[in-house]
């Protein structure tokens, strides 16, 4: 199979935050640690993990609203995304946000909200902008007659569609969906998921789909990334992560979501550890049911299986 160069090649992205905890005391949160992966064109990469795993930080770094401490993000053309201006970057990568209630400016009509990214592009005339905005709103299922309405006049599902239109208006190649359907009711979720699938086919989009809902991630994604405390612990195609997961954390996630199907996996002990500490060895050691002494000694390397499956675990169950 001819390997095409990836649409996006994320290499060794690290990001830490310093937080003051008490008088003159500072602590560091290692939000992302040496994260690397590729995103292929016209494919969906699902990212799963719980709170503190760094998936939101990853989204912000890719989008450009946070800068990483180290690392690079290469596009297919060879540019480093981190070196582009935000406006240039917006033509490649955009995002749909999680909260339908705060992701649209309540004081702007939905037309204005969707048109704003285009209005920074001086080469377009007002008529061209209007046509593009109304056309895209129509495509996502919002009648152009309602373009002058305000966000509070729409339901949660409709607001997510408007957010989707805003994300697509600059014709990016990559769309990040950061828990884009999590705040919606199940019956509305299905609509948005189907819309995402259709749009991907029509526009050959690549999605980075972040969610905590494994069934939704499995439905949409071609490849899945599992993150824990800022690191990727397992990566593979959708089928492999479902039926052939090797990392104990991935197994515990699967067991929590589908206990009847994965009853052979062990349960986790205790809660998530503090994100403030930097661990030698495996971050998951404190909760892992299979932990051994060697797990705590040094950095765990990735082990690569065939067909793109990789696991960061010494014991690889």
């Amino acid at each position: 199979m001819k390997k095409t160069s990836p649409l996006l090649s994320v290499q060794n992205i690290s990001k830490s935050y310093t937080v003051s905890s008490g008088f003159l005391k500072k602590e560091t949160i290692y939000a992302l640690q040496q994260v690397s992966f590729d995103l292929q064109s016209n494919q969906t990469l699902g990212v799963v993990g719980e709170s503190g795993c760094g998936k939101s930080t990853l989204a912000k770094v890719l989008l450009g609203i946070e800068s990483p401490d180290t690392g690079a993000i290469y596009t297919q053309k060879g540019n480093n995304l981190l070196e582009l201006s935000q406006k240039e970057r917006a033509k490649t990568i955009q995002m749909v946000f999680q909260d339908p209630y705060s992701s649209l400016n309540p004081r702007k009509t939905i037309f204005e909200s969707v048109a704003t990214p285009l209005s920074f592009n001086k080469s377009l005339s007002k008529k061209e902008i209007k046509d593009q905005v109304l056309g895209l709103l129509d495509r996502v299922g919002i009648s152009p007659d309602n373009a002058k309405a305000y966000p509070h006049q729409f339901s949660g599902g409709q607001r997510q569609r408007i957010g989707l239109a805003r994300g697509l208006i600059t014709n990016p190649e990559i769309l990040i969906c950061d828990e884009a359907v999590s705040a919606l009711d199940v019956s509305i979720q299905a609509d948005i998921l189907n819309l995402l699938v259709d749009l991907q086919e029509e526009r050959k989009l690549a999605y980075l789909f972040i969610s905590h809902d494994l069934s939704v991630v499995h439905y949409l994604s071609h490849t899945i990334l599992v993150m824990y405390l800022g690191k990727i612990v397992e990566m593979g195609n959708q089928e492999t992560i479902l039926r052939g997961a090797k990392h104990p954390y991935t197994q515990s996630l699967l067991k929590s979501c589908y206990p009847e199907k994965f009853s052979n996996f062990s349960d986790l002990k205790s809660d998530l550890p503090s994100p403030f500490e930097c661990y030698t060895g495996c971050e998951f050691a404190s909760r892992c049911p299979y932990v051994a002494d060697q797990c705590r000694e040094k950095e765990i390397p990735f082990h690569y299986f065939s067909d793109g499956h990789s696991v960061s675990c010494l014991l690889r169950h």
Partner: protein, 314 residues
């Protein structure tokens, strides 16, 4: 033994006069785990709050029967409610971080709950009870946790503390209102396992409210499906999942993608939940969105006593 008996519960907004929950009926026996499933706006939280007497004065509660054991819970005075809350019926809420008071330590809050119903206990006895409770909910390093403040604990830990607080006065019924929605997936399972274990070991009856039908089906024996203010289907969990009779239940099941089933598009239910105002004029509240709709659905009343509120069950 019947602990809760509810028949014909109506919760109405006083001005303008709008029914928010109507014809709600169910029973709860000792040791039973009942699930209530529904999407936002269906009235499941309102029902729970009505059983606890926590509804604001703008809402009116009426029922043919609203009993805890033999005592009626209708039109109770605040002091009568205080006797029931905590000692007979207890509730745990959705967001554990905001349900605990950020100003007080865990010990203070637990003791507050204990003192409300057992004021005569000495300090040592109360501390002893705190230890017992935290141990029961699976918290380690109890001494340290007792002195902590809510913001120092994780979401899962806070939820355990809330469960401990709810159990402090040995209630017979525990109402869990979306107890795990705000928590991580791995913690969700731990908390729900804990709740169901406690229900068995303490002989509690548990009402589990959620929007997630698959979650409910794992833990509950019986389930009520709510839509637009009333129960539209009820029955044994497995039976409901395998052969739902109401088109809405079927729609809910079809809407969620199943990675283990055949690869198919999740089917959304067209339209949206009617507002209480819109619902007033409909005979069947689900009919505008129903794929199985027939002309009679707009004309005939549905019998209040059937377990499936549909003229043409599947």
């Amino acid at each position: 033994m019947k602990l809760l008996e509810i028949k014909g519960l109506n919760i109405t907004l006083k001005t303008p006069r709008l029914p928010l929950v109507y014809d709600m009926s169910f029973e709860l026996s000792e040791g039973e785990i009942l699930g209530i499933v529904g999407e936002s706006g269906c009235g499941k939280s309102l029902t729970n709050h009505a059983i606890m007497g926590l509804l604001p004065p703008e809402l009116e509660v009426e029922a043919d029967i609203l009993n805890f054991k033999e005592d009626s819970l209708l039109n109770l005075s605040p002091s009568q409610w205080q006797k029931h809350r905590g000692a007979n019926i207890s509730m745990i809420f959705q967001n554990p971080m905001s349900a605990l008071n950020p100003c007080w330590t865990i010990e203070y809050q637990l003791k507050e709950a204990i003192t409300a119903h057992f004021p005569k206990l000495s300090e040592e006895e109360k501390t002893q009870r705190c230890f017992e409770l935290l141990e029961k909910v699976g918290i380690t390093a109890i001494h340290h946790r007792l002195q902590s403040y809510p913001h120092q604990l994780s979401g899962g830990m806070c939820q355990r503390v809330m469960i401990a607080q709810a159990l402090a006065c040995r209630p017979k019924v525990l109402l869990a209102d979306e107890p795990t929605t705000a928590l991580d997936v791995t913690i969700q399972k731990q908390i729900l396992d804990l709740l169901t274990e406690l229900a068995k070991s303490e002989g509690l009856a548990l009402v589990l409210v959620s929007h997630d039908l698959s979650l409910i089906s794992r833990y509950c024996q019986r389930v009520l499906v709510m839509y637009a203010g009333t129960v539209i289907e009820e029955g044994q969990c497995q039976k409901l999942l395998n052969s739902p009779q109401h088109p809405y239940t079927k729609g809910l099941l079809n809407a969620h993608p199943d990675p283990f089933g055949p690869k198919k598009r999740p089917m959304a239910i067209p339209g949206r939940v009617p507002s209480p105002q819109e619902a007033l004029s409909l005979k069947c509240k689900f009919s505008p969105r129903c794929f199985n709709k027939k002309p009679e659905c707009e004309e005939q009343e549905i019998s209040k006593t059937s377990s499936v509120k549909c003229l043409f069950p599947l």
